[in-house]
Structure formats: structure tokens, C-alpha cells
């Protein structure tokens, strides 16, 4: 599961019934550089994902979301979902060792 920061909300008039009770958020996957910097991400940069959420997350929250086949496992019917919010992260104790030659 990748770590992501919610930067936007997506609303729509028409959607499949299977999506009822959930929301869609615009999420930026967090890299090591993003996690190490203290400045909050205001403006989406790089590629963002649309993540389905039924846990009640909001803008500004850090979440862990899974992508791929696992994202649509939580639904009763066959529902096309690419990214699913698995958990809302309260606290992240992130202390990587000093950077070497990052790829």
C-alpha cells in the first residue's frame, strides 16, 4: 500500500450504484522526499491518483491506499476501482537512514 496525501475532492452526479456510500479523492502518492520535507503539499505536483474512500477521510489526511486488483476486493459486486483507501494514518514515524544514491 502506498502512502498518499489527499489534496482534493471529486464529486459527480452519476455513478454506479456500487459506489454508493463512498467518496472519491484526489491523492498524491508520497515519495521519500515528500515525507522528509515539513512543508505541506498544497498544489498537486506530479501524477495524482483518484482514490475511493469509505472510511471518512478528508482533505489534508495522510492515507494508505492499495492499487491494482486488491483495490476492488472490498466490494460485494464486481466493481471497477483502481485505488482504495485502506487506512487513515494518524502518525507516521518516518526515520530513514541518510540518503545514499537514490534511484
Amino acid at each position: 500500500m502506498k502512502i498518499g496525501k489527499i489534496v482534493g475532492r471529486i464529486t459527480m452526479n452519476h455513478k454506479l450504484d456500487a459506489y454508493k456510500g463512498g467518496r472519491f479523492f484526489l491523492v498524491i502518492p508520497q515519495s521519500r522526499a515528500d515525507l522528509e520535507s515539513d512543508t505541506p503539499v498544497d498544489v498537486p505536483k506530479g501524477n495524482s491518483s483518484v482514490v475511493f474512500d469509505d472510511l471518512g477521510a478528508d482533505i489534508g489526511d495522510s492515507i494508505a491506499f492499495s492499487e491494482g486488483g486488491e483495490a476492488c476486493m472490498a466490494f460485494c459486486d464486481d466493481t471497477p476501482v483502481d485505488a482504495y483507501n485502506c487506512m487513515i494514518l494518524d502518525k507516521l514515524n518516518y526515520t530513514p537512514p541518510p540518503a545514499r544514491n537514490s534511484l
Binding site: 500500500m1 502506498k2 502512502i3 502518492p29 508520497q30 515519495s31 521519500r32 515525507l35 472510511l55 471518512g56 477521510a57 494508505a64 492499495s66 492499487e67 491494482g68 486488483g69 486488491e70 483495490a71 476486493m73 472490498a74 466490494f75 460485494c76 482504495y84 485502506c86 487506512m87 487513515i88 494514518l89 494518524d90 502518525k91 507516521l92 514515524n93 518516518y94 526515520t95 530513514p96 537512514p97 540518503a99 545514499r100 544514491n101 537514490s102 534511484l103
Partner: protein, 94 residues
């Protein structure tokens, strides 16, 4: 399966029911020399990996769903091994 280094831990009060009670580790996939590859991942930790310890994480959601006893779990990554030593072949391949 990915070779990774544990770079921290995470806490989450609100989580999918299938993830209840599991420890969460922030894992950075690395190459054989310890260089970072890609973005850090959150993985379930059943083995009690320590900080900066090298581990192997699985991205097999199918087995993970059996492990957490929930056929509808959206979780994906889990620490499956604690690495003692990772050896890479040195020199040019013949």
C-alpha cells in the same frame, strides 16, 4: 517479493476491518546495494521487524486475504521474511 528496508512505523485508528490489530511498517524497497527504489510502502508486520532492518515484503494480496481471514480485504503488502544477509554477485556476469 521485494527486498526492502524498514524506515519507520505508522499508526492508524480508522482502518479497514481486516487490518485491525496489525502492526504497520513503512518499508522502502531497495536494491542489493541498499539504494532506494521507488516510493515507500506500508506493510503489515507480523514478525516485529526493527528500524532499518532489511526485510522481504510480499505484494501477494491473495495470500494476504487468507492470512487476515477476510476474503474481501483490500490490503496488499506484508512483511514475510527478516533478512540476515543479502549477497549480490560481484563483477561482470560471464
Amino acid at each position: 517479493m521485494l527486498l526492502a528496508r524498514v524506515d519507520g512505523s505508522a499508526t492508524a485508528t480508522i482502518r479497514h476491518p481486516s487490518a485491525k490489530g496489525w502492526k504497520l511498517a513503512v518499508c522502502q524497497p531497495i536494491d542489493e546495494e541498499g539504494n532506494d527504489i521507488g516510493v515507500p510502502l506500508i506493510a503489515l508486520d507480523d514478525l516485529g521487524a526493527g528500524l532499518h532492518q532489511r526485510v522481504i515484503i510480499s505484494s501477494d494480496g491473495d495470500t494476504l486475504r487468507k492470512w487476515v481471514h477476510d476474503p474481501k480485504s483490500p490490503l496488499r503488502n506484508m512483511i514475510t521474511h527478516l533478512v540476515d544477509e543479502a549477497c549480490a554477485p560481484t563483477g561482470d556476469p560471464a
